[in-house]
Symmetry: C2
Subunit: 121 residues, 2 copies
Amino acid sequence: MRFEAINFNEKFLKFDEQWSPKIIGQMNDYQFKLVKIQGHFTWHEHKDTDEVFIVLEGEMSIDFKDGRVNISENEMFIVPKGAEHKPYAENECKILLIEPKGVINTGDSNSELTAEEDVWI
Amino acid sequence: MRFEAINFNEKFLKFDEQWSPKIIGQMNDYQFKLVKIQGHFTWHEHKDTDEVFIVLEGEMSIDFKDGRVNISENEMFIVPKGAEHKPYAENECKILLIEPKGVINTGDSNSELTAEEDVWI
């Protein structure tokens, strides 16, 4: 075991790409991923799993087919499995995602926004 | 679905007890718990699961039999399953715990610090 905490700010310095989740840790079969987001993502869903968003810096929103949630720094939101959703951030927003290993960022919707999987920083 | 983010600061206003995890959300079979800690906890282990600590305010440390990790605000640490550990905080520290539903805070070590399970706020 390495007796060293994972520092979010240090990890964010290691990449610039937006919408490209980077793995920073794994608990059992669940991964913790840092992401920088800005603008509109694509509509998608994760059929088999919930997904957690924790906003570390900035603010974002998630559109659903029947509503919208705003998430600010020090807030989290759990997207239920099977719920079509579309994340959005006006200005760059830094978030921590938690979801099972193997989840694709665009879910069932292959697009140019589909990120490479399993990239650790 | 409630289109409302979970705000950590608002949730922390709802309780004062230390070492008493309060559940604020569940993703699949995993629960997100807020805890206020201060002083020494008890040595314990979780035989079947890793456990994640995210420090939201303050600083804490975790002693292991062969080392110690310090965790500050905006940092996280993953305690591997089966690793005996003892959390500590000199001043009150506010943390987010992530672990499977049903995990007991004192693991295999029943003590006066064993908290009531499954308390939602």
